[in-house]
Symmetry: C2
Subunit: 243 residues, 2 copies
Amino acid sequence: MIPKEHPRYRSLVVRERLAEFAREGVLSLEGLTAHGRGEAFDYLLGESTSESARLAERTAAAMLLLARKPVISVNGNTAALAADQIAPLQQASGALVEVNLFHRTEERIEKITRLLEANGVSVLSGSRERLLPLPHGRAWCLRDGIFSADLVLVPLEDGDRCAALRQMGKDVVTVDLNPLSRTARNATLTVVDELTRALPEITRSCPEIGKEEALKLVADLDNDYFLRAAMDVMKERLAHALD
Amino acid sequence: MIPKEHPRYRSLVVRERLAEFAREGVLSLEGLTAHGRGEAFDYLLGESTSESARLAERTAAAMLLLARKPVISVNGNTAALAADQIAPLQQASGALVEVNLFHRTEERIEKITRLLEANGVSVLSGSRERLLPLPHGRAWCLRDGIFSADLVLVPLEDGDRCAALRQMGKDVVTVDLNPLSRTARNATLTVVDELTRALPEITRSCPEIGKEEALKLVADLDNDYFLRAAMDVMKERLAHALD
């Protein structure tokens, strides 16, 4: 349907694939809009991984390796974009995987779980309880998963929920293309990169990092630096877009 | 469903409304993603109309008033966001209104036409022909509408289609939050503003502008200036976001 010669071919094809996932009920319709928001920031990043993002990805790997109980929190957007990249990351990092949705229905949790399992992910199951300090229906998670994790890798997360996890004393690693978002500013570490570029890079880094390097990466972690570096790339692109 | 205390309440509510239009088939699922893209740029604009955008809106009004046969091209996103703002603009400017879709089906054309008519718009009807110089299924329009227009106001348009209209010698006025998009760069005049702020501003300007002012606004039109001014606002916001 999308002609190959269209200059935005790749982006339009991803949009079509996500629309298909939305029709199947994996992705919420609101998730489609959220994806577009990310697209815009990726456009400003030049749709490539910056040097600072690469360092953030290596630091994310270090944090996963050093954590006592790391959990990867997967929502509809993450599943739709990167279902096939979760299993390798789970194996490389030893993290648990929990499905956790903003627009939450039992049916969507079920569908996403099946999609992940079909892609080789071992998904944590159990009955969810209202365990996150949130004033509304976003508080549900698994007691043996996110609730008891010391570190949560939660890509593409809502700002409220990121703040709630931090409030509970957890380290939060997020992947978020918007360096201005509340999620990006509240997280312990923000990887400002497109999800399907970021996850494989984190996975690749895991077996390369020894304990000493991991400790050094975490000691040097400065999330403000990562956000500012991403904004600098975007400012640069805005400054020269018409040249 | 969305808690009122959520800091992104307004944006989440618009997303929900658009999701509803998508369920009804007015908006394509890909249109939801495109909306998110716009949202991100509006975020960088501080979600308000800049001084340069206001001048662009006044210039848009001038161009509509001076045109021999202006046509407003309405797609799913425009209808979903601003169905109630089209009739006042049509009355103030004397333009024809044609429904023209990127993800085109007869059913969606029908639904959008009914939505516009329910909002008091007089919608051009007829049988569409392949009249735009495009290599694929995006070429359809009305002979008595866009094809014979000298000026097309086409908000939220695809870059290929904007270029095709320019190639046909038409003036193109667009409303596009992304100042880097091909649409924004190819249009005769780009209003870098959110659609529901831009349209009423254009409408308000129409009765205020005399022939002399209209001619001067058009003579002074420098689209590069409008794009650079918008980028400057965004750069400024990126520069001070973490202060």
